[in-house]
Subunit: 416 residues, 2 copies
């Protein structure tokens, strides 16, 4: 174990006792101070970010990755505004969830409490550093951040600004910790810190998430992997089906709620396949179809089993052709990551079966899967989208960053 | 991977799709049929149990362990009644948790759904086989049972009876699976079945639970480890303090909510130590005290650091002497497993600090820690007591065996 990881997690754990006693007002004030401090320190943050960008360019990082990494004044202002929006969200900590008296006179209350110390393991986007910190502090948690090495200079500067901002507030600066060792080893050390970290939330690609899930002995909230499907039934409206499929694939292909496979009823395909895919082809989507359809669509490829299991996050789309809803359900059950699944149909009974039988965080009827999102659900900022079934499922708002505690009071009751 | 573990988990996963569609009435009927079948098969179950008892005796199993393993008609009737009680509990599956419409017209519903397939890994008590199965089926889950080898014959017979009972109901017999390979290897195989098992719940001693927590890539709900404390403040009522401490230690020392360490304010100890411990000594409790108190109490030992970290589940009690609430909090923060912690005091402000600052599933004021229990809380049967902070904390009733699903309906909404 390196000194850094254990030492910083220990400092966070000590700070968690202070965080356990801060008020909503103190937290909100601290978030506003942090937002102002970020804007005031824009120049220094942009300087640090340039070092990351320079190293990225030297290492041949793709321009889209460099764009996600880049910070300017406008983006820093947007990040600061994200903190200000968190101020507006209701504070779940202290919420009374249940309260009752037992026949023996003991009084039981169940309240929301902070989780304690949250480990965040994520990739190169420096806005996550601020978003995650804001959400953790708002819920009276401490955070141990382990960002990607590509953003290390940016994260170091941002965290220095945030910690320094807390010096003038009721919140302890040690509530925010950044692991600066950017070796894989520091991630693996975090995964073993049971007793110091209360939960680990990984955000990033499949390799990052799988490493965390497979090696962590700290409880994990799994996020993000999305092999999402849209099933176009034979009774679908052609126009609606085309718009939903186009939106699910093309509006932002890089995100987890984008569609990877379009499943089409054979009858619908034989009449409307061309109309369904035309706009996508124009938008540059590469299509992978089963035989013989791959022969009919110019520039397409033959789809493979492996393709059906792949989250592209890109302008690539698999197509599957089925003869029934049952066949569509079998396909989805086989390849789904249980994130977001959609049926487009005017047949209400079929839609109800789909919604009931599909096992996923979010199941849609006649709506694009792209709506699986904390803001779109009206929950405000989210720490991620859970694809596991324990604790939280789907977009995770502030309550997902809390636990509960039973408080029992009486006057000497003993068990018989 | 052995064929048995993968094969049975796969059968359970298939059965989960059927379980996803059964009604409350069908589940309740099945539970009653199972209860009747157990009673009707008492003779065969007792025969099988005799084989386990015989092997246990030959292997030199302690008489208290043999007693926990033993089944007779009365115990089987009690186990069957446990199933009948589960029938009476409200069914959480399908419960509508949230429902709202967004400005764009999409309608969002959040409902409780089954977890899917639950892996239960537990030790020698055959009643757990029935209790866990009943709770899992009531929540529309399937269960893969891996009981201790000491109860293998009993479990085999019980599960055969339960599965056969389901043949005449709407529930699939494959919803109940028993892993009969009693090697450690079958446990370790279960821990790797991500995608087939949705959650693993370990119940048993620290070694069993730690093995599961450290090696599982399936999400785990940790249960049971309880190093519970009772703090007697200087302003405690002597009579109440004595009764609560005695109850917490002696009423049933083998369970997780029993007290392991009694923390006493020095002023209280100097006046009332003798009265506080007298009844415990009479009950045969071995006391371990710090110096110089160990010299003052006949038959006691000097307590060690290791003792303070130990869950005895036995007639052994550590004592710690402190000068303040703060010192008590430091001790508890250091050694607590965050299960159940108690303060006995008439000082309301101190009690409130204790309740607010202690991080545990259940925090008590003037009540024995022995009440941390699903029945005592009025929740009915419990699958275990969670000592983790994710998903469920404290006694886990039926809702802890569910997840949630978002159902989103609209008329062609796409994301802008």
């Amino acid at each position: 174990m390196s000194n850094e990881v254990v030492m910083k997690a220990t400092l966070a754990q000590k700070a968690a006792r202070i965080m356990n006693n801060v008020t909503t007002e103190q937290k909100n004030e601290a978030l506003l101070v942090m937002a102002d401090a970020l804007v005031a320190a824009s120049a220094a943050i942009i300087e640090a970010n340039k070092l990351d960008l320079k190293r990225g360019q030297e290492q041949g990082t793709s321009s889209s990755m460099l764009d996600r990494l880049a910070l300017d004044e406008k983006r820093i202002e947007a990040i600061a505004n994200g903190l200000r929006e968190i101020v507006q969200l209701p504070d779940p900590v202290g919420e009374l969830l249940e309260q009752f008296e037992r026949p023996n006179g003991i009084h039981i209350r169940k309240l929301r409490v902070p989780l304690g110390v949250i480990g965040m393991i994520y990739e190169a986007r420096p806005n996550v550093t601020v978003d995650a910190t804001g959400l953790c502090l708002k819920t009276s948690n401490c955070v141990v951040l382990r960002g990607g090495s590509a953003a290390l200079e940016s994260n170091r500067q941002i965290v220095a600004v945030l910690r320094s901002a807390l010096e003038n507030t009721a919140l302890p600066a040690d509530a925010i910790q950044l692991i600066e060792n950017s070796d894989r080893s520091s991630v693996n050390e975090m995964l073993k810190l049971k007793g110091l970290l209360d939960v680990i939330i990984p955000r990033g690609g499949a390799a990052l998430i799988n490493n965390v899930v497979e090696n962590s002995i700290v409880p994990v909230i799994e996020t993000g992997a999305g092999v999402c499907h849209t099933y176009i039934d034979k009774d679908a409206d052609v126009q609606m089906a085309s718009e939903i499929a186009f939106n699910a694939k093309v509006q932002r292909p890089s995100v987890c709620n984008a569609m990877e496979t379009l499943i089409i009823h054979r009858d619908f395909a034989s009449l409307h396949l061309e109309q369904l895919i035309q706009k996508m082809i124009e938008a540059g989507v590469e299509l992978r179809l089963p035989s013989p359809y791959d022969q009919q669509v110019k520039g397409s490829k033959l789809v493979t089993e492996q393709d059906y299991a792949t989250e592209y996050n890109d302008y690539i789309l698999n197509i599957a052709i089925v003869d029934s809803l049952d066949e569509a359900l079998v396909h989805i059950n086989r390849y789904s990551t249980k994130h977001s699944e959609c049926i487009v149909t005017n047949n209400k009974a079929l839609a109800e079966r789909f919604i009931q039988e599909i096992d996923a965080a979010a199941v849609y009827h006649n709506v694009s899967t792209r709506f699986t999102d904390g803001f779109e659900f009206g929950y405000g900022a989210e720490i991620g989208i859970s694809t596991q079934k324990l604790h939280a499922r789907g977009p995770m708002g502030l309550p997902a960053l809390t636990s509960t505690k039973y408080q029992i009071t009486g006057n000497g009751q003993i068990r018989q």
